[in-house]
C-alpha cells in the first residue's frame, strides 16, 4: 500500500512540475487516478504469446499514458475468479482477462460491477448455448488473423522449393485454427494463380482437422511434429503454438533449407531464429490493449468489439528481414495487391473461426 501511495505522490508531483512547465496537458490529472489491471491465464506473463503481448501493452500504457497497473498471474483455472475479484476490490477502472478461459470470470464480474470496465483478449462473450452476447461495460478484443495468415500462405507457397508447406497448432481452438485456415487459403490462391500444386501438410480446412501438439508448453512435441513435416517434404512451416514454436525452430534449423513462418510477434525480433524466419503473422495485441486503455482513460470506453484486421493494422505480415532478396519482386507485389484487395473488401478471407 505504501508503495502505491508513494508512486501516486511521485506521479502527482511530476504532473505538477509538468504543468508548471506550461505544457497544460489536461490528461495528467486523470492519469494518476486510472488503474489498469490484467489477469493472465495459466500460460503466465512469459509465454511468448498472448499473455506476454497483453503484458507489453499494459507496460506501454504505464509508460506512455501514465496509468497505474496491477497484474495477477493465474496458475490454474480455479484462480481466474479470485484474481478478477481482487482486481475489482482494488477498484481497477479497466480489467483485462487474457484468453477465452477467462470469459466467464470477466463476464460475471462485468455484470456484477456495472460501474467498472472490463475487456477480454482473444475471445468474445457468449451465453450458455454459445451464442454471442454484448455486455455494456465489457469489450472483446479479437483478431482476424486469417487475413494476415492468407498473405503468409501465399508467400510460403511461392517460396517453397519442394512444393510442400506445413503447419501445426497448439490446441484446436478458434484463435489457433483461424491462422491455419487463412494459411490454407493463401496456399490455394497461389496454386490457382500460378497453375501450381503446392501441398499443405498438417491442416485440412474443409474437414477442420490437422496436427496439434496438444498444449502450449511442450517444445519437444513441437520439434517432433516439425521433424515429421520435414520428413514428408515440407520446407516452409508455420507453427501456431506459442513457445512450442521454438521446438519447431530447433528442428527446422537442424534440417537444411527449411524456413519458418512465426506467429503472434515478429519472430525475427522475438526469437533467436531470425535467420530461418521467412516472415511472421503479427497480431498486435499490445497496441490494442494500449488503445483500449487510452479510450477508457478519456472516457470513451465502448463495448464495441475491437477486431484486429489488415485495415486497422491489428494484424499484419512482418518484414521479410534476411529473406528480403530471396522473395521475388513479383511475389512481394502480389502480396501487396492481395493486401489491398482484402482491405478494400474485394477479397474476403473466410474462416469458421472468424470473429463475429
Amino acid at each position: 500500500m505504501k508503495k502505491l501511495v508513494s508512486a501516486v505522490s511521485i506521479a502527482a508531483a511530476s504532473a505538477l512540475v509538468l504543468s508548471a512547465c506550461g505544457s497544460g496537458d489536461s490528461g495528467d490529472s486523470k492519469a494518476e487516478d486510472f488503474l489498469g489491471c490484467m489477469v493472465s491465464d495459466s500460460g503466465g506473463w512469459d509465454d511468448q504469446s498472448f499473455n506476454q503481448s497483453g503484458r507489453e501493452g499494459m507496460q506501454a500504457a504505464v509508460d506512455n499514458l501514465g496509468i497505474e497497473e496491477s497484474l495477477a498471474e493465474s496458475q490454474g483455472d480455479a484462480d481466474f475468479k479470485p484474481n478478477v475479484d481482487n482486481m475489482i476490490q482494488q477498484g481497477c477502472n479497466l480489467t483485462f482477462g487474457v484468453g477465452f478461459l477467462l470469459e466467464d470470470a470477466i463476464q460475471e464480474a462485468a455484470e456484477a460491477n456495472t460501474d467498472l470496465n472490463f475487456a477480454l483478449i482473444d475471445s468474445t462473450f457468449s451465453d450458455a448455448d454459445g451464442n454471442p452476447v454484448t455486455i455494456d461495460n465489457a469489450k472483446p478484443l479479437v483478431f482476424n488473423t486469417a487475413e494476415a495468415a492468407y498473405l503468409a500462405g501465399y508467400v510460403a507457397a511461392a517460396s517453397s522449393e519442394s512444393g510442400k508447406v506445413g503447419t501445426f497448432g497448439g490446441i484446436q481452438i478458434p484463435s489457433v485454427t483461424i491462422f491455419m485456415d487463412g494459411f490454407a487459403d493463401g496456399v490455394k490462391k497461389y496454386n490457382e494463380e500460378n497453375k501450381k500444386d503446392v501441398k499443405l501438410l498438417g491442416w485440412d480446412k474443409e474437414k477442420q482437422d490437422g496436427s496439434f501438439s496438444g498444449d502450449f508448453e511442450n517444445q519437444g512435441q513441437g520439434q517432433a511434429l516439425t521433424k515429421q513435416l520435414i520428413s514428408q517434404g515440407a520446407d516452409v512451416i508455420m507453427p501456431v503454438a506459442g513457445p512450442v514454436g521454438l521446438g519447431a525452430a530447433a528442428a527446422a534449423k537442424e534440417a537444411k533449407d527449411v524456413k519458418l513462418i512465426w506467429v503472434d510477434s515478429d519472430g525475427y525480433e522475438s526469437t533467436e531464429y531470425g535467420d530461418i524466419i521467412l516472415t511472421s503473422v503479427v497480431k498486435q495485441i499490445a497496441n490494442a490493449v494500449e488503445d483500449t486503455i487510452g479510450e477508457a482513460q478519456d472516457g470513451n470506453f465502448s463495448s464495441e468489439p475491437y477486431v484486429g484486421t489488415l485495415e486497422n493494422e491489428g494484424v499484419g505480415l512482418a518484414p521479410y528481414h534476411e529473406f528480403k532478396d530471396e522473395v521475388p519482386e513479383d511475389v512481394k507485389k502480389k502480396v501487396e495487391e492481395l493486401k489491398k484487395k482484402i482491405i478494400d473488401g474485394s477479397l474476403t478471407v473466410d474462416s469458421e473461426s472468424t470473429p463475429k
Binding site: 500500500m1 508503495k3 496491477s70 480455479a78 479470485p82 481482487n86 476490490q89 478461459l101 450458455a128 484446436q172
Partner: protein, 410 residues
C-alpha cells in the same frame, strides 16, 4: 515432489527380490509420518523465513537499498522489513481477515475464501492420506480429481433434475468416477504387482488427455462453442451456498468436514480400517494374520479414489460450474503435500488443507497488491514439504538409526 522419488532411494542398495520390495516402502513412509508435530510447525516457520528472503531478493527497491547498505544501513533494513512485512500482511489479509476492506462482509470474506480453496485439497488429501496409511503411494490424485470432476460436471448439465437431488446424483457420479480410476491402479497392484506409483502417474496423463478429447466433442460438451469447454452446469446441480452472495463458501466444505470424520472413523474405529493399517504397517505380518492383502489394496484405492473424486466434484459443482481442461489445477499434487504435512492423519490433513487453502487465497491478494511473484507462495509451500520430508530421508540415505521412541506412533 521430493517424496515421489523417495521409495526408489533405499531400494538400489540391496538386490531385493520382488517380494521384498513392498516391505521397503512403508518403512520410509512410516519414518516420514512418525515425525513430531513440532517438525511440521518448525517447517512452516522456517519456510516463511526463507520465503521472506526470496521476497526481499525479488524486490527491486530492496535490491536498490542493498547497494547503499554501508552508507545507509538503516534505510536498507527499513525497506527490507516493510517489503517483507507488506507481502506477508497482504497474504494474511487475503487469507484470513482484510482490515483494509470497504465493507464488513468483504473484511471477513477472505477466511471463507480460504475454506473454499481448501475444500478440494482436504477431500483429495484425505484420499491420499488414507492410501499412505495403508502403505500405498497414491500419486494419482490428479487423475482421480479429473475423472470425478468430469463425471460430476457432465451429470450437472446433461441431466435436468430437481435441486439437491441433482447435486447429490452429480456428486455420487464424481465419487464413482474417482473410485473407478483409482480402482484400476488397485486391481493392477493386487493382481499383477504393478507398482501403484507408476500406474497412478500414468493414469493422471490418461485422465488429462481423456478430458481434453471429450471437451472437443459436441455431444459431450452440450454447447456449440468451438472452445474446449463444457456448457455451464444447471443451477440445480450446484452445491448450495452456505452464505449469501459475496461469499462463495459452499456445501462442499460441510462434505469435507464429514469426510474427515468418516476417514477418522474408518481408520480408528472400524475393522476394515484396522486391516488397512495392518497392511500398511507390515504386509507380510498382515498376510500371516489372515488378512487378504490384495483385497485390502483394491479397497483402499477405491476409497481413496472416491474421496479424490469427491474433491473434483466439489470443485466443479461448488466453485467452477463449468468443465475446462484445467479444471483440476494442481489439486492432485498439492493434496500429496497436504497429506504429508498432515502426517496422513484425518485431522492433520484437514488442518493442512486449510493452511494450503489459506496460502492460495492469500496469494491472490499478495500478488495483485504488492506485486510479489505468485511463485514465492509456491516456493514457501515446497520448502515446507522439503523440510518435513528431509530429516527421515537424510537418515535413511545415510543409514542412521531412527530415533527409538518415534517408532511406536504408527
Amino acid at each position: 515432489m521430493t517424496t515421489d522419488t523417495s521409495p526408489a532411494a533405499p531400494s538400489p542398495a540391496p538386490p531385493p527380490s520382488a517380494e521384498a520390495e513392498p516391505g521397503k516402502e512403508p518403512n520410509l513412509l512410516q519414518e516420514i509420518l512418525s515425525g513430531s508435530w513440532l517438525v511440521s510447525v518448525l517447517a512452516i516457520v522456517a519456510a516463511l523465513v526463507l520465503g521472506g528472503v526470496l521476497i526481499a531478493v525479488s524486490n527491486a527497491e530492496v535490491v536498490e537499498a542493498a547497494k547503499n547498505i554501508f552508507a545507509a544501513p538503516g534505510s536498507f533494513f527499513s525497506t527490507l522489513f516493510s517489503t517483507v512485512g507488506d507481502a506477508y500482511s497482504a497474504l494474511f489479509r487475503g487469507a484470513v481477515f482484510d482490515w483494509n476492506a470497504r465493507t464488513t462482509e468483504r473484511a471477513i470474506r477472505p477466511l471463507t475464501e480460504s475454506l473454499v480453496s481448501g475444500t478440494p485439497l482436504i477431500l483429495t488429501g484425505l484420499g491420499i492420506a488414507l492410501a499412505f496409511r495403508s502403505g500405498l503411494f497414491n500419486i494419482g490424485g490428479q487423475g482421480q480429481v479429473i475423472l470425478g470432476a468430469t463425471i460430476a460436471g457432465y451429470l450437472g448439465y446433461a441431466l435436468h433434475l430437481p435441486p439437491v437431488v441433482h447435486m447429490l446424483i452429480a456428486a455420487i457420479g464424481g465419487i464413482i468416477g474417482g473410485a473407478i480410476w483409482a480402482g484400476i491402479a488397485g486391481v493392477l497392484k493386487a493382481r499383477t504387482g504393478a507398482n501403484e506409483v507408476i500406474v497412478t502417474i500414468m493414469l493422471n496423463s490418461i485422465a488429462g488427455y481423456l478430458l481434453g478429447y471429450l471437451l472437443k466433442q459436441n455431444w459431450f460438451t452440450h454447447t456449440t462453442s468451438a472452445n474446449p469447454q463444457s456448457r455451464t452446469l444447471d443451477d440445480s446441480s450446484h452445491m448450495f451456498m452456505l452464505l449469501p452472495s459475496p461469499f462463495r463458501l459452499h456445501f462442499g466444505f460441510i462434505i469435507a468436514i464429514l469426510a474427515t470424520i468418516f476417514v477418522w472413523w474408518l481408520l480408528e474405529r472400524s475393522t476394515i480400517g484396522f486391516e488397512f493399517k495392518a497392511v500398511g504397517a507390515n504386509p507380510h505380518a498382515a498376510r500371516t494374520a489372515g488378512i487378504s492383502v490384495s483385497k485390502v489394496t483394491i479397497l483402499v484405492m477405491i476409497v481413496a479414489g472416491a474421496l479424490a473424486g469427491l474433491g473434483g466434484a466439489a470443485q466443479v459443482l461448488g466453485t467452477e460450474f463449468k468443465l475446462t481442461g484445467g479444471i483440476s489445477g494442481s489439486i492432485g499434487f498439492d493434496a500429496i503435500t497436504v497429506a504429508l504435512l498432515g502426517r496422513s492423519k484425518p485431522l492433520g490433513t484437514f488442518l493442512a488443507g486449510l493452511l494450503f487453502g489459506a496460502f492460495k487465497a492469500g496469494g491472490y491478494l499478495m500478488q495483485s497488491q504488492t506485486g510479489t511473484p505468485i511463485d514465492i507462495v509456491l516456493v514457501v509451500q515446497s520448502v515446507i514439504v522439503l523440510l518435513i520430508a528431509a530429516p527421515p530421508l537424510v537418515r535413511s540415505i545415510f543409514r542412521l538409526p531412527a530415533p527409538a521412541l518415534k517408532r511406536k506412533e504408527s
